[in-house]
Symmetry: C2
Subunit: 395 residues, 2 copies
């Protein structure tokens, strides 16, 4: 057991007809009602927003990226502030990822060794080695409430042998992370991998669960694979995870995926999608995503979403938001981000209430009949395009 | 007289040893204590900020650009909202410029005729004609509290004949603007021109003042001319303006220019400088401008300016702001904008108090001994570079 004394998770309500559950995570910086969505603040800021705005959107826990913060501003700077909370002005719970995913997807010239990964910074080309022990040390310096084991995610499309090697390395590293974990108020979550291979997914989850982490993440999904593969792999993994621990599906997501993830018993999610698409002008509405740049909004005096209680919808017309995007004004990026975050955070609220009230299956089917997800072909093309651009350092 | 019944201006205190004065402008949307600085919201948004943030910075009146809003979103859209106040969510006073300066500096293929200017939109190349009458009609649709006469500013470096022609045209247009001004709660200010020619400046001010506007602007300055020329021309103009009317120096400015303008009896200023340089990472501090990107800020736990009461300085360290700029995060642009606006708006506050308290000359000399202005050569090079880039449509 990794043993962070201030950390706990308990299930408060379970859905009779599905695996959905509502619960509560307790950390030294406050409680998180689950299922919960974590906005992503890669560089110690959820893009465009202040901490107060994040809280007003209903965020309870935010995610920050170890890889980014390790390179810039550097752990030494964050440590001077006693950790990320004071540095970024967010007083609630924080989770840091381990950097594994970013090292494998953003850094160049990486060399995977059994003891860690050598890579070059995408910022200045400098060479770095991150080992499981170093990943723990860095995350200790960043001071999040929940930290993640250092892992090697497999890309979608890699063959069985490659994925097997990456998964076994992930397992060895998981043990090393646990061994070097100090605790000090930080909970440590393990990450299971296994690519798109059901048997490997099950074995990975079983092994990682046997090590006794404070919680468990499903890694290596939502990376360009078809949705049915994603859900099949998540389901394989979930069969092996202990019910009494928090389960975290990394990199999800879109409103429709949040609902499907909750239905399968996921407690925690993170994704940059709601904030990223917001900056592209794609706003969540009850019937699905809408582009605020569309001419239909040019003269619309009402808000984007009349049911929404966010600052943007309470204060400004769709026409004004349309104007800000057409005129490429930064305020538009802020207002769209606020709306999309509030939309997914309110969705989580609604799901928690539905689970507690015993009518989650009705909520889920009503949501599905109402909300039109992005077309699967378009989604995959966008996602893969984004992964390529991201790798080229454009994002 | 143009006769907006809800508009008035009164001088409340005068400085014994200088021309500085403190006063109050009353509009249908509230009062403005003068001398006042107006943040610039060219496209119906002060870049990066919400109306609440603007108010928290101490802004009382904002400026919006007729040229920009006429082209996008179009007057028809703003008129649906009953004007800019509801469209942009700013409930305080608003001033719109006439579009003259933008037509002459931003639009391409312009043809100046005696009745107006034909130009092509810098956005889509469409052809437009703006006459003095049309400028009044557009500004009526935008619904600001103070609107400006349509003028032809002269560029620094133009010869006497050119400037004379532009000034005479400005005079004819001023009369036409007054003739077609409806009032309806809108005050109309006249603009005097005259380039860098003292005699022309005096004659222009005298003529425009004779027409009986609600207030008077000094146009065509702060456009790349040396500072001594700017102040000499402003002084020539001021000799001819009635003391009982508000005097507005367009396009100023920097903290040091605001102090010098107030010393000469200016009541109103506008400039995009504080917000523009903020987005470049240049922050106002008691001793002058500092670049937040400098390494000296990398680990600084205190705020940029310990004396500042703005949200940025109350909430975040200089190190965090440094990090945001290095990481090219939008939140950095917001926080810097808030700080710079608060800095100049508090400076105006301090000056109003000093004038009322009878110790403005002391305030001015203390400010001068403390605040190091940007080097004049560097300033002119930056300003001219900016004017060129702006004309090329990069800004």
């Amino acid at each position: 057991m990794s043993g962070a004394t201030s950390f706990s998770f308990k299930v408060l309500a379970e859905c009779r007809d599905a695996s959905a559950r509502a619960g509560e995570i307790t950390t030294a910086h406050g409680k998180v009602s689950t299922p919960a969505f974590m906005p992503v603040g890669s560089q110690a800021t959820v893009k465009t927003l202040t901490p107060e705005e994040l809280a007003a959107c209903g965020a309870s826990m935010v995610l920050a990226n170890t890889y980014h913060l390790y390179l810039r501003p550097g752990v030494d700077v964050v440590r001077r502030f006693g950790g990320l909370h004071r540095f970024m002005g967010w007083t609630g719970p924080i989770l840091t990822d381990s950097g594994g995913y970013q090292v494998f997807s953003l850094a160049s010239l990486r060399r995977v060794r059994d003891d860690g990964v050598v890579f070059r910074s995408h910022i200045d080309g400098s060479e770095h080695l991150i080992t499981p022990e170093r990943a723990m040390e860095i995350q200790r310096g960043l001071g999040a409430d929940i930290i993640m084991a250092f892992d090697q995610p497999a890309s979608y499309g890699q063959d069985l042998v490659e994925v097997q090697q990456a998964t076994e390395r992930t397992h060895r590293w998981a043990r090393l992370c646990l061994d070097s974990h100090v605790g000090q108020g930080q909970a440590l979550f393990g990450i299971s991998q296994g690519g798109a291979f059901p048997e490997l997914r099950r074995r990975s989850a079983e092994y990682v669960a046997s090590l006794g982490f404070d919680g468990y993440a499903i890694g290596g999904l939502c990376l360009g694979e078809p949705k049915e593969v994603m859900w099949a792999m998540a389901e394989e993994t979930l069969t092996q995870l202990p019910k009494g621990k928090a389960r975290y599906l990394m990199g999800v997501g879109s409103p429709e995926d949040l609902v499907e993830g909750v239905a399968r018993g996921i407690d925690l999610f993170d994704s940059a999608l709601p904030t990223r698409v917001a900056r592209n002008g794609a706003l969540f509405a009850p019937s699905g995503r809408r582009s605020i740049r569309n001419a239909e909004f040019r003269e619309m005096e009402g808000p984007i979403d009349p049911d929404c209680d966010c600052y943007t919808c309470r204060t400004f017309s769709a026409a004004y938001l349309h104007h800000l995007f057409k005129a490429e004004e930064i305020l538009g990026l802020r207002l769209a981000t606020i709306h999309n975050l509030r939309f997914v955070l309110k969705l989580m609220d609604d799901m928690r209430r539905a689970i507690a009230g015993g009518d989650f299956p009705t909520f889920r089917s009503e949501f599905k009949s109402r909300y039109q997800p992005t077309n699967e072909q378009a989604r995959l093309a966008q996602k893969r395009g984004w992964l390529v651009e991201r790798h080229r350092g454009k994002l």
